[in-house]
Point group: D2
């Protein structure tokens, strides 16, 4: 029925992708290569190997991508203070391009002619996987089982699993998690079921990574964050790798109830959907990054970045990480970060991330001798402001004069 | 020395503007009209009348502008989810154009040929007052004493006051407030002195409107917020006037430690400055407004607004409220708010404003039959996504093909 | 095979849509309503009626939409100085939304449940028709035969025609026009065949509406153009209807070889394509509109419009005329045109449109007493410029000082 | 009266800057260094040396900056297809930053503490000189005589010249040129006098670099233009230096009447002014550059550039060439030009620059197998378009459904 001989599957080891694995073998009569990525989602990955073996898979990839993920995807994104629709820190969106890249690399290594994934036909993730894959290998074939098969309800999926000897654990038999979830070092997300009513409050026991602000410690905690070229390089004076930094920020943030978000967002495929997110480390990173930029970045450069940010965020949300326009914007963004060096002190307390101080030994543009309301000994000539205002007002005065004459 | 016969002074009744009043009379030999505005700053205004009378002022304006301020300035600004440099809610900026407008109106009523204000030559407020004034009356004369006189230190100011019989209260004799402050119904701000070191944490006893999150109640409070055309019209089911709503939001927010901000910002006149702000009501309003828009606004309209917002925010920050470009943007913004109707529920707890639900009886674009990951009975054909992705990928595939051929 | 009972077909009377008419009747066993629009394309429309009758069509619409087209679509678009990719005046794009609107209106009148059109699956027009239709009636069914049938080559199409007794004229038997063309009051376009090699010059005998600059008159012609609220209302002092104005501009422009364009453009569906266009009237209109705005529009409003224009152009090019974001932008654009009143004089000569003068009795913001390099008698204080420059330079001076200290 | 010991003067050798030279010596009692730049303005520069010597100047700089000007300023600007206010090619604006840079370099070499220039207090050039100078040396002192002295009319200037033995040639005695002019390799500009009435047509004998279209040759001329990384590297197959290319384009363009412009523009200092420009080579360059980008640049990258262009143009117009935001934008722009390689053929005829062909051996993204309306043998699946449209329409359909329900 098709000319596909070998397909690389993004395989989590869970029920859905296990059914896909089997379905691919049966439907396409093709060899399947499994690829399981450690993006810091906090799950055991070795069981995926055992399961894949049971299905007769010979080529099994289990990759630790945590450092690459944070260093080459998360950090570059935060250099732009990236937020989608004013709130969402793009935790799912930013992981997909890395998975797409590895799928294409593995397809090349294993001489596979197709890739496959478990994203549904309604969501953004299919777009992110596939746009990335096509951009990196224009001739790759892509199998998106959710858009092809007829296993569109959970019942059918379970029936298929049982029929084909795919182990279904107790949780799924009882209806599975009430939520569709995704996790990586940047965040964990929840969609579906109870959340499909945007009027209803999310249940407290849904949240997994953070305590509620109510249950967070009664004592605040201070954290010193050191930046180099726009990226965090040390916490409380201790230098760490990129992924260690994000893990540590998650730990501290989660402890203090930081980073929960309940949102209705606009999907690229056209509908609104409600999602809940926990992004403890990212929430701290965003606040701290804005703070270090506030003293090290030129005003107009900062405003240029702010103007471009929503566009950059949409590109990532919509799956265009590997597009030439995202790369062009990144060139500008990265260029601006050369001077973004220094430290920020934040205070964490029951859900709050409060910037309390910031400084840069090498790159501070804050000049208190000029900013002061006290006597500045001539650093700034207040009379200059008169001319500044006069010329900025000129066009409006000319218009107002015309307006008066017309009356 | 000048042809100014009568000047309208924006008069707070405090030491600085009292010195200005006297200085104007002496320096310009002109009549002075005083204008004191109630913008909800929470100070007694009648003492300003008494003081003005002592200086021989005959025309004394004390205006309650609270409703106009919130209805025609604060609310329109929040329709755009306006934030300057990612953080600042523009509490000072948005009050200046109203004061400028009243100064010009009063100048017309009293046949004054000049206006005067107490803003320094280093700050943004002089620009906001004067751009507004020039836009509304291109031929008005403006006296900005801080740019003219030589009373540039506090000592000289106090000496002048004493010399001219201007009462100096105990506070000022002891050095005055350690901060330069501004307050209105939207916020209170602090600048100067201890804050001029951006590395140093603000002192707890500086904050006036909010308790610290630590001292806020241990029990969260829920608040139902009703929107009509993008503005809040009722709280917990109770319809109120615009200024009453903002006052009530300030009360509740302040009680729960909501709305503190510690920021280094870029002034229009060119330097960076550090400011601390309390905007309890505005912080709630911003969150809630984004939430109601999230279900009632089209995606692309929302993104268009997000793209334009930083520019709109800069216009307000820089003093261009009365400019034709701000008004043009407002036309677009207001147009989009026709469908922004519905309610939002927020939970306030120790500094957090947490959106927990939102809905609109009349204008919700959230369609759970389409968004659901469950069987949607054909509302959405997942196969459509394949073509959607293919065509969006086409240009990148053509480029990747070229790239492969080149290698 | 389908539940479609009646379909409204955008029917030109030509071969392609005649085949579609028959194919719809046969394939869908449905009644067909034909709709033929007079958009000023300069073709006889009555033959379409005869042909439709021959196919047994009972409901035949032939509408003169010229005035609506120019007044409500072309003119509003030109208020924004709209150009796609720096060059293209959107002649085809702007006609599609009106056709979509009429298709939906006629479907309602005739109780049809579907519409159909003759645009191919590779072009932009299918998108423009269908996005418009869905936006105006979300439940309309759309039949796009080119995406469904197997008549994908000209030979198959001709064979089908012959087989079903559809008259094929001599031109088509001989291979038809070498170009795919579209015409309306704004332009005529050419695509395909010889043009598919972007390196090759278009052949002179392709162009239909304009003489070549070489063959244009040796004497220049002046034209006085009067604007009201951003639209042309009179030519050489003669008030005319909108469509008459555009027709007259086409006549004069075409005579002087104005408005030819040879372009490679980026289609919304993902590929580049080469098109040639003749837009004589539109080319004059664009030039003249910029000229009248140059003296009647505030600088920052003009710049805001320029910044938004490419986005607005893409919306129209991509088929989003009926989208809420296009309408929101239009609100802003139209608002700015209140003062765009006055006249422009252009000189037409062998392909050139040269603006030689412009003025506005009521709304000119040009103030020669200020602009003059001669003595202005105090209208402008040159010393103000010093302060203006100093404050605008401040942030760069602070940065340069830091830079010097670092070295 | 001042602490200035030595000033570098941008010296043309003309009357105005000769008066300034003398005035600086007298008023500031300082040594003056003269700097005369060859930017291709087409004037003899050696007379400037003689004149400077007569005034006792010891340090005389006469620099040939033509190659640097075109290579490092003009070409980078055209990579962005830069146009100010839809029309102006920024010929004056782009020369100023180079002069500012040399002034600062020479000040360093000669240990001067100030620079001076002959730009008036009403124009943009003062801003461009001074912003550039301050950005490059924050502590430089700047003397702008036109903002300081009282020689504000031509009569006073001539009187001063006569009084101080400054030779005044016949032309000036008779009232000088009727226009204020500026020239360099990119353009020549005219302002003032007769042009101050924007309704009046410019006189034919004003134009100096181009023949009128009427007087241009009756035979068209073709020109092959080769691009590498977005810059022209060869004309008609002949590789040349950057400045030679622009000179040759000026020659050919001028011969064919290309590049005249009559414009009312908005100055940065707040007023509208009318200028006439001749930019023959730049006009060809702009057209050709857009054409080569049309086949070598990705759609979204091209659109990103188009969206940013007006901002980039304003930065250059307003004098911010040396600002960090212009440099950040340049980083993005230059990055996009890596693939802008190939050739463009234009036809020049009586004022017209007509692109007739374009191609790239290495980087063409034009794929005729996909673009063709003929049978493409499966390169593109037309059915994909259905899904593409459906998902792009989804949000509008949901809104339309809501709208229907409301009625």
């Amino acid at each position: 029925m098709s000319d596909i001989k070998k397909a690389v599957l993004a395989y989590s080891g869970g029920l859905d992708t296990s059914v896909i694995l089997k379905w691919l073998q049966d439907t396409y009569q093709c060899e399947v290569v499994t690829f399981t990525a450690d993006l810091g989602q906090g799950e055991e990955l070795e069981p995926a190997r055992e399961k894949a073996k049971k299905f007769g898979v010979n080529e099994i990839y289990i990759d630790d991508l945590r450092e690459e993920f944070v260093r080459d995807f998360v950090f570059p994104m935060f250099r732009a203070n990236t937020v989608y629709e004013g709130e969402y820190l793009l935790g799912t969106s930013i992981a997909r391009p890395l998975i797409a890249k590895r799928l294409i690399e593995i397809a090349k290594e294993t001489k596979a002619d197709a890739i496959s994934h478990g994203a549904t036909g309604k969501g953004n993730d299919q777009v992110r996987f596939e746009l990335g894959a096509y951009a990196l290998n224009p001739n790759i074939q892509i199998i998106a089982p959710w858009r092809e098969w007829d296993l569109l309800s959970r019942e059918k999926l379970l029936a298929y699993a049982e029929q084909h000897g795919i182990p279904v654990d107790m949780k799924h038999k009882q209806g599975g998690s009430p939520y569709s979830m995704d996790a990586n070092l940047l965040h964990i997300s929840y969609e579906g079921r109870h959340l499909e009513n945007p009027a209803a409050e999310a249940e407290e026991d849904m949240w997994r990574w953070t305590v509620s602000p109510e249950k967070a410690p009664d004592a605040a905690e201070y954290l010193d964050i050191e930046f180099k070229h726009g990226d965090i390089v040390a916490l409380n004076g201790k230098a760490m790798k990129a992924y260690e930094i994000l893990a540590e920020l998650n730990r501290i943030g989660g402890k203090h109830g930081v980073g929960r978000l309940d949102l209705v967002e606009n999907r690229y495929v056209g509908m609104k959907s409600r999602g809940c997110y926990e992004t403890p480390g990212g929430t701290i990173l965003l606040k701290a990054h804005r703070a270090i930029e506030s003293i090290t970045l030129d005003r107009e450069v900062a405003h240029l970045k702010d103007d471009l940010m929503p566009r950059y965020a949409s590109l990532i949300y919509n799956g265009y990480w590997w597009s030439p326009e995202r790369i062009a914007l990144q060139t500008l963004i990265d260029h601006t970060q050369a001077t973004v060096n220094g430290w920020v002190r934040v205070k964490l307390y029951k859900g709050n991330v409060i910037v309390v101080g910031r400084d840069s030994q090498t790159d501070s543009l804050f000049d208190s001798t000029i900013a002061t309301f006290e006597d500045d000994k001539g650093a700034y000539d207040q009379k200059d402001a008169g001319g500044f205002i006069k010329l900025n007002a000129l066009r409006m005065r000319i218009a107002a004069n015309l307006h008066q004459r017309k009356k």
